[in-house]
């Protein structure tokens, strides 16, 4: 949400250019190939779901997209620019536009929640400590944690830690939000509230959202597009909106996954 033009439509690049494009991506650990020939696009404002069974490489794909792992081959383009061929400065700039929520929050355990949110804010020059603190309070209240600024991560519940992680991910007004299993370990109601929060954030921030999940409820409730990875064939079985994938499954496996194995 780095910037909101008064008319959001006008600020968008021509429709031809997707926000994120993955081209011929092969992911490998050493000589062990995890996934090959991944090819998909994410439009601006999409909520893109990375689906698949356990161990198929969903989280690894996310790590490739946020620049933690280097692709064995292929490229990942952000607004037309390839991440891995960009200069280190440009890569840093791109990364500053990412907000990432890690699976267990990945909060710095020796810092309070406010200090956690203030870490990325340190990147902004010209902000006083009081203003940074105020911004941290704002982000925490956006995720429903008003008043918890001075708590340490070990003193709050798992669901709260996740929301605090989201507050930190939102700190720099990211253009792209990445979520790794946002609802893992949450009760259904908290998971639903988190889904609602994600929808609300997308609607008001206009951010592009990429989610790794295998929660069917979330996939259908919030996903506008997605990709399905398969562990056996080591490649993707299809891409598109979850509803379309269910209506016209490109592979029986996709259908089984999306219907929880209950074939009607």
């Amino acid at each position: 949400m780095a910037d909101h033009a008064k008319s959001t439509e006008a600020s968008r690049p021509p429709d031809g250019e997707p926000h994120i494009r993955v081209r011929g991506l092969t992911m490998a650990y050493g000589s062990y190939v995890l996934q090959r020939d991944l090819e998909f696009e994410i439009r601006r404002g999409d909520i893109f779901v990375i689906m698949g069974g356990s161990g198929c490489g969903k989280s690894t794909l996310l790590k490739h997209m946020i620049g933690l792992n280097r692709p064995a081959s292929g490229e990942i383009l952000y607004a037309g620019q390839s991440y891995w061929t960009a200069s280190p400065e440009r890569q840093n700039e791109l990364r500053r536009g990412f907000g990432i929520l890690y699976q267990t929050g990945a909060l710095f355990s020796s810092m309070t929640l406010a200090e956690n949110v203030m870490v990325p804010l340190g990147e902004l020059p010209g902000l006083s400590a009081a203003e940074r603190r105020e911004l941290a309070s704002l982000k925490l209240s956006l995720v429903g944690l008003a008043g918890f600024e001075d708590y340490y991560p070990s003193e709050i519940s798992g669901g709260m830690r996740k929301r605090a992680g989201l507050a930190r991910a939102l700190a720099l007004d990211p253009e792209i939000l990445f979520f790794d299993e946002p609802s893992a370990g949450l009760d259904p109601i908290s998971a639903k509230l988190l889904d609602d929060l994600i929808l609300e954030l997308r609607a008001s921030l206009g951010a592009t959202i990429v989610i790794v999940t295998h929660e069917l409820a979330s996939i259908f409730a919030i996903g506008t597009s997605g990709v399905f990875l398969d562990a056996d064939s080591k490649t993707m079985l299809g891409t598109g909106a979850p509803q379309d994938l269910l209506a016209h499954p490109p592979d029986p496996k996709v259908r089984r996954f999306l219907t929880r194995g209950i074939d009607s």
Binding site: M1, A2, D3, H4, A5, K6, S11, G97, F108, S109, S110, L124, G126, L127, A130, E131, E134, L135, S137, L138, K139, S141, L142, G144, L145, A146, G147, F148, E149, D150, Y151, Y152, P153, S154, D173, L197, E200, A203, S204, L205, G206
Partner: protein, 380 residues
């Protein structure tokens, strides 16, 4: 972030008063990366008799968290002064986010209140804390003794593989550094001693000096300090990290007492390995002295060794090895104790490791003093 285009104007906001109605006109391009109005500079605007605040934001070109932070503070100030806030003039996204940030009321009592410290209370707290710490340490010691008893009666539950791994890591893994330090200590002792003894033409007694010093105290002390830094720290870090990951809780709920499963193999391995490492350290310390004796003082190797064996009695060796065993057990206990009571954060692991190493080294020095007095009284 796209570069600001030429048509954008800096962020601005002005308050206009109409009776008891206040109108806030916001405009321009609000960005955290550029200069923007701060609420802290505008608090005076709400002073006086205001019943209603309307926000007018049609001229806002771009906005980000800087605008939200401003509005968030404004909304809180309005709530405090019971001013009705009408945000409908804002861009829709900003309206929704503002509503979201105000939606969840602060949970009562959640906010931390700084308590003033009272010196008397601090002293009392310190005494009570020391008492609790003593009880905790005694309870830990009791658990370990019970585990040792169970081990002696072959009922202890721990993985034999763990014991082997620990024996290897604490013993064989330390050979290199123990050798380096003790050869150097032997060299230094011989060199310093020879400067005095040479004045009396008694260079040959360098062998006695080095032999007794190394075998009786210096070998065990140097080995102990190395192990405190190497192995005691490792124990505290391993068990502390297991605390952070709730692995210790998992063991406990499986009915495996951590004092048996984690502490026992570690204490045993150091209790066994430290005396052996001391023996090894003794030999290398004597070798260090021998190098100085032969190379600088012109003593023959055979003569040096004969002198060493004549002056170092078996008592010296036992005393040294006893020192080693005591140090080993102490280091293992300190490392495991601090690991077991580690908090659940990354910095707590760091504190546990520091505490383990510091108490390990202090314990070594204090126990050397005690043992020296004891053996002196016994006439050994």
């Amino acid at each position: 972030m796209p570069p600001p285009d030429s048509t954008t104007t800096p962020a601005r906001c002005t308050f206009e008063r109409e009776g008891d109605r206040l109108i806030l006109r916001c405009g321009g391009s609000w960005s955290l990366h550029a200069e923007h109005p701060r609420f802290a500079e505008q608090t005076g605007a709400l002073a006086g008799d205001v019943a209603r605040l309307e926000i007018e934001g049609r001229e806002i070109q771009r906005w980000d968290s800087s605008l939200l932070a401003f509005l968030h503070q404004l909304a809180h100030a309005c709530r405090e002064k019971e001013i009705e806030l009408d945000p409908r003039g804002l861009p829709e996204g900003a309206q929704r986010l503002l509503a979201l940030s105000l939606e969840v009321e602060e949970r009562g009592g959640a906010r931390r209140v700084a308590t003033r410290s009272n010196p008397l209370a601090a002293i009392g707290g310190g005494v009570l804390g020391a008492q609790q710490a003593t009880m905790r340490a005694l309870a830990f010691l009791g658990d370990v003794v019970i585990s040792l008893f169970r081990f002696a009666t072959f009922r202890a539950r721990f993985r034999r593989a763990d014991l082997w791994t620990q024996l290897h890591a604490t013993g064989a893994g330390a050979l290199g550094i123990v050798a380096l330090i003790n050869v150097l200590v032997g060299l230094i002792l011989a060199f310093v001693g020879s400067m005095q003894l040479r004045m009396f033409g008694a260079e040959i007694y360098v062998a006695s000096l080095v032999g007794i010093a190394i075998v009786r105290v210096m070998g065990p002390i140097m080995t102990g300090i190395i192990l405190a830094g190497r192995t005691g720290a490792a124990f505290a870090a391993q068990i502390g990290t297991m605390q952070v990951n709730e692995e210790v809780d998992a063991l406990e709920t499986m009915g495996l007492p951590p004092s048996e499963y984690l502490v026992l193999p570690r204490v045993l391995s150091l209790a066994i390995m430290t005396p052996l490492l001391c023996l090894y350290a003794d030999l290398l310390g004597i070798l260090g002295g021998l190098i100085v004796g032969v190379a600088m003082l012109g003593i023959g190797p055979r003569q040096y060794l004969t002198q060493t064996f004549e002056s170092v009695g078996l008592d010296e060796l036992w005393i040294g090895l006893l020192h080693g065993a005591v140090f080993g057990i102490w280091i293992a206990l300190a490392g495991c104790y601090h690991g077991m009571r580690c908090g659940r954060s990354a910095s707590a692991v760091g504190q546990a490791v520091t505490a383990a190493v510091v108490s390990g080294i202090i314990g070594i020095v204090v126990m050397t003093a005690i043992l020296t007095v004891v053996f002196d009284t016994l006439g050994l």
